[in-house]
Symmetry: C2
Subunit: 228 residues, 2 copies
DNA sequence: GTGCAGGCTTGATAATTATCAAGTCACAAG
DNA sequence: CTTGTGACTTGATAATTATCAAGCCTGCAC
């Protein structure tokens, strides 16, 4: 792995505050891998041999059961995945696939556990990251159970609005069928939901979504800091 | 707090392997509190001043938004709650209420963070517990998104069957309206779902649920170790 | 023992969402 | 430039679930 790569990894919050020796241990056995789009990185049920970190690109966590498939979440730059499975040395509960060309850092789970036990700063970073992931999942579940599909889409648009610099025209970061799956609906229903949000000033053109009246959309969506 | 109580707390897995001094620090400022049924212990949005552990009884974690309310999970003996909020010193994402008379241990969050930084065994116990909670939530979300309401109920019955000693007559641990909320449906629908499961040998009489043909129910429910 | 309240069941109807089919559009491959 | 494929949209219909109402049952309080 190049010196430049190692310095990039050092800047990830998970590693920013840990000791040099700990960092060396973690990166010594690590992989930095580029994957094409639509590649399955891990499969649910498999053992968690590596902790994964998305360096660039886009990765979807999904699950299947009895022929049904659903998107659990979508990960972007500097997101970890299967951290809980790594810590517990348990099988993955989710699969992962790249949605676009992605670079992924893979750290051997044994090294992660070894350093966790010896470096308090790393232990703290791990538990903070795990807490963040867990809380994100609670918010997601609240979104699914407390809101209608229209409300979920409206709040998703508002969230992208903020993430993309408070601009009134956002670009959907993933395909609509993946977004539909994430929001818990079929692609046909997502299409109809976008149409219905026309009543709240939302217009769609391919991957571009335009908000005509941000206050109207806010009034309908009722965003909540404990969910969004 | 009595010596007997302190010994009971010592036996909780979270504390079983930690140093004596760490344990003393944690229990010194701790509370051991009995609450009547239907009492709200914490409220979403509030700061997480204590880590809570259910010593006995039953506690429901729930959330509300725009007049809607949903049950996120139900906790029994030796379950922790708001661990992630405690670690991150962030507001609670969920509220909690007792469903029956309950005894709860409350540890000051500052003490938890203080000991976490100094006792590797406690750090490991915390992160293992957090991983367990997080993975439970992922299973819950998979259950909600991948299964119909009938399938969710069927798998719930099978899970209680195993938890109650593989007996063919189980006792629902909570009221049906709370179970309905947890499974993501209205009480009317839960009633109809129980009725529909009659086709798979399930009979209901108040809080008692009887399974006539465990294989038939298994064939319908298709339990999965990655969900249930 | 009686009355009341809360939980639950059942019926009817409305609303939401899924499914299936067909057509359109854009992009990639040849 | 042409063709084919996959994503998406739209229409029609089926299925699922929510809502509302009414009645029953059980347990608790007086």
């Amino acid at each position: 792995m190049s010196i430049q790569r190692i310095e990039e990894i050092r800047n990830i919050p998970l590693f920013a505050d840990i000791g040099d020796e700990s960092f060396a241990t973690l990166t010594r056995g690590a992989y930095f891998q580029a994957f094409p789009a639509n590649m399955e990185l891990i499969t649910e049920g498999e053992s968690a041999d590596f902790l994964h970190i998305v360096h660039s690109g886009c990765v979807e966590l999904f699950s299947t059961w009895a022929g049904n498939e659903t998107t659990i979440t979508t990960l972007y730059e500097n997101s970890t995945f299967i951290l809980a499975a790594t810590i517990k040395d348990a099988p993955n509960l989710m699969s992962a696939r790249t949605l676009s060309k992605s670079e992924v850092i893979m750290l051997p789970s044994e090294d992660v556990r070894w350093v966790f036990e010896r470096d308090p700063a790393f232990a703290m970073a791990i538990v903070v990251e795990l807490s963040r992931c867990y809380r994100a999942t609670i918010r997601n579940m609240k979104n699914l159970k407390l809101r209608s599909s229209l409300e979920r889409l409206a709040n998703y648009i508002l969230k992208q609005h903020h993430r993309q610099g408070d601009t009134l025209t956002i670009t959907l970061p993933i395909e609509k069928r993946r977004l539909a799956s994430y929001l818990g609906m079929t692609p046909e229903n997502l299409s109809r939901a976008f149409k219905s949000l026309g009543a709240h000033s939302v217009r769609v053109d391919g991957q571009k979504v335009t908000i005509g009246d941000i206050d109207a959309l806010n009034r309908f969506a009722k965003p909540d800091v404990l969910i969004d």
